[in-house]
């Protein structure tokens, strides 16, 4: 299975950054894999998470459910959307999954990272 995403090295800013590749169709399995990777990356700590879906094509309902559940174990979550379709995906996720942690959609990466830095312990 080709990876639909990649993680940026977990740097000194304390933000876990994942980016979805061009045309990614995110399934439940992809979602579970990325969630497991995140928890391995952050050693299970409540992470501040940045998700770039600007290039993703679609996210299945089952994948959204996995992300929704996992999000409650994060410290904060920023979704970076670009095109109108990715904005729809992001809004759907936030509106229907209703994570209990601070979650917001951005179309500007720097604004997203600035917002997230407030939640870095």
């Amino acid at each position: 299975m080709e990876d639909t995403h990649f993680w940026e090295p977990f740097g000194s800013d304390g933000i876990a950054k994942i980016r979805y590749t061009a045309g990614a169709i995110v399934t439940e399995d992809d979602a579970r894999k990325s969630v497991a990777e995140l928890f391995a990356l952050t050693s299970g700590r409540r992470a501040v998470v940045f998700v770039d879906i600007r290039k993703a094509k679609s996210v299945s309902r089952e994948a959204r459910a996995v992300f929704g559940e996992a999000a409650n174990r994060y410290a904060a979550l920023a979704l970076l959307a670009g095109s109108l379709p990715t904005q729809v995906i992001a809004n759907f996720f936030i509106g229907l999954s209703r994570p209990k942690v601070p979650t917001q959609m951005f179309t500007d990466e720097e604004k997203a990272l600035t917002w997230l830095r407030r939640y870095v312990a």
């Binding site: 679609s58 299945s60 309902r61 095109s83 109108l84 379709p85 904005q87 729809v88 995906i89 759907f92 229907l96």
Partner: protein, 394 residues
């Protein structure tokens, strides 16, 4: 048709399909038109959510229907149980209702015995074997006072009373009433059913059923205890005069219908007042209890022994002729006379009694007439020197 119509065509088609109830319409791949692509994607996700919501709603509806049916059955069961006069009747109702409620399962209801060191089977249903009785310690639900569930695929500890080596899932529900466990409802799913039989809803219903049964059984038992107390003499545990008179009326009716024999014996301990005066009332009570034991052990279970006065007893002997009644009483007299009674280290004098026997229909066809005849015979026995039996009309 203009260009705008062309552009919106796929969107209109999707909305129309969804409006008609088709939640799986074709979602075309739109390229080079981000607005329409976003709308189609949004509609697609909305349709997915609708499908999921509908499935969840269907599931909940099905669950509510099961709950509703279960509650109706439970209500029927409670009403039926509360209409039962005796525990035996309640056990029959319980067995039938349990079969209806848990038709696809095997199961059993166990209740504590009087000693509370064993629970005994009162009713069971289904094909799987169940134990006839077991110590309460063999059931985790009774030990912990809460539901114990063993799944077919799980590693939970199985109760020792369940059949070993079984791959069934099972559930034990303690039957609690007013904080006390009366017994346990044991349900077993056939191995083929796997784990799907004991859903959280099924568990809630089973708990409700067990509690309703326990409460109803506790009420029936209390009623039985009160009724029994009102018919028994507290010193000897024998039936009292009221019960004896009711029984005699019933037995006369039966003897008439079946043209069978029936005898009654009035029996009075000799010199009982003297025993009381010399040794005290407690000594008299001891003598009464000992005589009672001999009496009860000497008659058939179909005979009725009752204490109808201070030291006076009435025996109702269905099927017995007056001669056999007399012989039986004479044997009892010998046993009573042979009793060695002690009270606070003092040996009490030998106990004797006088008795008068009468039989239906020769000496009377009503309870009053029969008892009058037996009383007269007893009077004769007393006057003839006591420690003897006189047969009425002899």
């Amino acid at each position: 048709m203009n260009a705008e119509d062309d552009r919106l065509g796929p969107v209109i088609r999707i909305i129309t399909s969804i409006a008609k109830g088709d939640l799986h319409p074709e979602f075309p791949d739109i390229a080079n038109d981000p607005e329409i692509e976003a709308i189609v994607l949004g509609l697609r996700m909305l349709a997915e959510e609708l499908v999921a919501s509908r499935a969840e709603l269907d599931g909940r509806t099905a669950e509510l229907e099961i709950l509703n049916k279960g509650l109706l059955r439970l209500s029927d069961l409670s009403n039926l149980l509360l209409s039962c006069d005796t525990s035996a009747e309640a056990y029959v109702v319980l067995g039938r209702s349990a079969r209806e409620m848990y038709g696809e399962l095997s199961g059993a209801v166990y209740l504590y015995g009087a000693s509370r060191d064993v629970v005994e089977l009162v009713t069971s249903w289904g094909d799987l074997p169940v134990a006839n009785s077991f110590p309460p310690a063999d059931c985790w639900a009774l030990r912990r006072g809460r539901v114990h569930h063993v799944s077919a695929s799980g590693t939970e500890l199985a109760c020792r009373h369940t059949v070993e080596g079984d791959l069934s899932s099972a559930m034990c529900v303690p039957m609690l009433a007013q904080g006390e466990a009366l017994g346990v409802l044991h349900l077993v799913g056939a191995p083929a059913l796997g784990d799907r039989v004991f859903t959280p809803l099924a568990e809630r219903l089973a708990v409700a059923a067990a509690e309703a049964c326990a409460l109803a059984l506790a009420t029936i038992r209390l009623r039985e205890k009160l009724a029994d107390q009102s018919l028994r003499d507290s010193l000897t545990g024998l039936y009292n005069r009221r019960y004896a008179e009711e029984t005699l009326l019933r037995e006369i009716g039966r003897a008439k219908r079946e043209a069978s024999a029936l005898s009654v014996v009035m029996l009075d301990l000799d010199h009982f007042k003297r025993l009381n005066d010399e040794f005290g009332h407690d000594a008299g009570d001891t003598a009464l209890r000992e005589a009672t034991t001999v009496l009860v052990e000497s008659v058939r279970t179909s005979d009725v022994v009752s204490r109808v006065g201070g030291e006076e007893f009435l025996l109702i002997l269905p099927g017995a002729s007056i001669e056999s009644a007399g012989q039986k009483i004479d044997k009892v007299r010998e046993k009573v006379k042979a009793l060695e009674l002690f009270y606070r280290g003092h040996r009490l004098p030998p106990l004797t009694f006088s008795a008068g026997a009468a039989s239906f229909p020769a000496n009377g066809v009503t309870p009053e007439a029969l008892l009058r005849a037996a009383d007269s015979a007893l009077y004769e026995a007393k006057h003839a020197g006591r420690d003897r039996t006189v047969l009425a009309g002899a």
